[in-house]
């Protein structure tokens, strides 16, 4: 406990760096997955390749990816951009399936009704398909948020700032409290983000509130 009290500024610093790395990755994953998931849902031919690609992507271990990426995108090995891009790729790999599944689950009646009412395709997608697929996408996004916050720490072995630096520093200097602080904070951050998404989901999709309460 003393270690925590003595190092509050350091901990705040690491937490901030952690959020600054993981939040953009989660957002980017969502933004990229929606059109990609739509393609997989809309065009059957793309369904297999997109989902297989996503599965293979997810099988690639994070640290090697952090090291291979710089060669492909022209960054330095210790650049935080590598971590953001890698985490985005993992997020997309998970979310694309949720988006495709969610859109697959939209009742054809609802879609047909929108078409009959004269909704143009984009408006139908944004106001009918996407909201109805929302709960499935949200559950995927929650998994992405939690695993992104957790994976973000791996960059620490390359010296990239995050709560993970508490692990490497604690290990090198033999400070158990530092490692424990890092683990607790990472888990708390992940679970807090998960709760936040649940709340945002209820605000954005009020009709799911009744089901969630049941």
């Amino acid at each position: 406990m003393n270690w925590v009290l003595d190092n509050l500024p350091l901990i705040a610093d690491r937490t901030w760096a952690h959020l600054a790395t993981s939040l953009p990755a989660i957002l980017a994953a969502l933004v990229i997955s929606v059109p990609l998931g739509w393609l997989a849902h809309r065009y059957r031919i793309l369904n297999g390749p997109v989902l297989t690609g996503a599965g293979l992507m997810y099988a690639i271990p994070s640290l090697p990816l952090f090291i291979v990426l710089p060669v492909l995108i022209g960054t330095g090995v210790r650049d935080v951009v590598n971590v953001v891009v890698a985490l985005t790729l993992y997020g997309v790999a998970l979310l694309v399936r949720s988006v495709a599944d969610g859109l697959d689950g939209v009742p054809p009646e609802a879609r047909g009704a929108a078409v009959a009412l004269g909704y143009p395709p984009l408006r139908r997608f944004l106001t009918v398909d996407l909201p109805l697929a929302g709960p499935v996408i949200l559950s995927g996004l929650r998994v992405v948020a939690v695993s992104t916050v957790s994976l973000c720490t791996v960059g620490a072995v390359l010296g990239i700032p995050s709560l993970g630096l508490l692990f490497t520093d604690g290990f090198q200097r033999g400070i158990l409290a530092e490692i424990l602080t890092g683990i607790v904070l990472t888990v708390v951050l992940a679970l807090a983000l998960d709760r936040l998404l649940v709340v945002l989901g209820r605000l954005a999709m009020p009709w799911t509130r009744a089901e969630a309460g049941a």
Binding site: V77, V146, I179, T186
Partner: protein
Amino acid sequence: MNQLWEAVLWCLDPAHWTGPSGIAARSLEHLGYTLLAVVIAAAIAVPIGWWVGHTGRGRGAAVALSGAARALPTLGVLTLTALLLGIGLAGPMTAFVILAVPSILAAAYAGFEAVDRRVIDAARAQGYTGAQVLWQIEVPLGLPVLVGGLRSAALQVVATATLAAYVGAGGLGRYLFLGLKTQDYAMMLGSSLLVVVLALVLDGVFALAGRAAVPRGVTVARRGVNA
């Protein structure tokens, strides 16, 4: 791209493959860690998961545990066990097992839950005992899902085993961290590629195993429906 080529050359150099710290030995070591960890984790998680799935008891706890485990940072667990258990394989292996248990546990009970209740009711109506329902219905029908859980656990351990070189374990991560320390980018990148290949091969093997684990009756029935 030039760097990528140099990394591939590093991987292909026969001189790097032999000896006790050659690529062949390190790959086997990496694979050995993974298999051992998955076997130990399965020995712990499968009986518990089956018990939860069969009786329905403790389901809430199992769901909470496997959900919360996703938030657990692998590097944190690894450095914690290394610091507590000291140098040697005990620390990293403990971390691997801790990280592999949740997905196997979740898959073990989820596989049972995916079994059609009517199949179990039919078996009971025919006089199957609880043990017969377990071994002749739930276990074989839940097997494909369980293999899926073993697959994620194995991939999780392959990734964590790479990190384990940071706390002194062997495996392919050794080259990665050595390359990082000596600024040998070809070695670092080459070993990263080797880990990626190892992970993808393992993923493929488990995908095939998952397909083989589907009982023949189920595939016949499914084909019958489609026809």
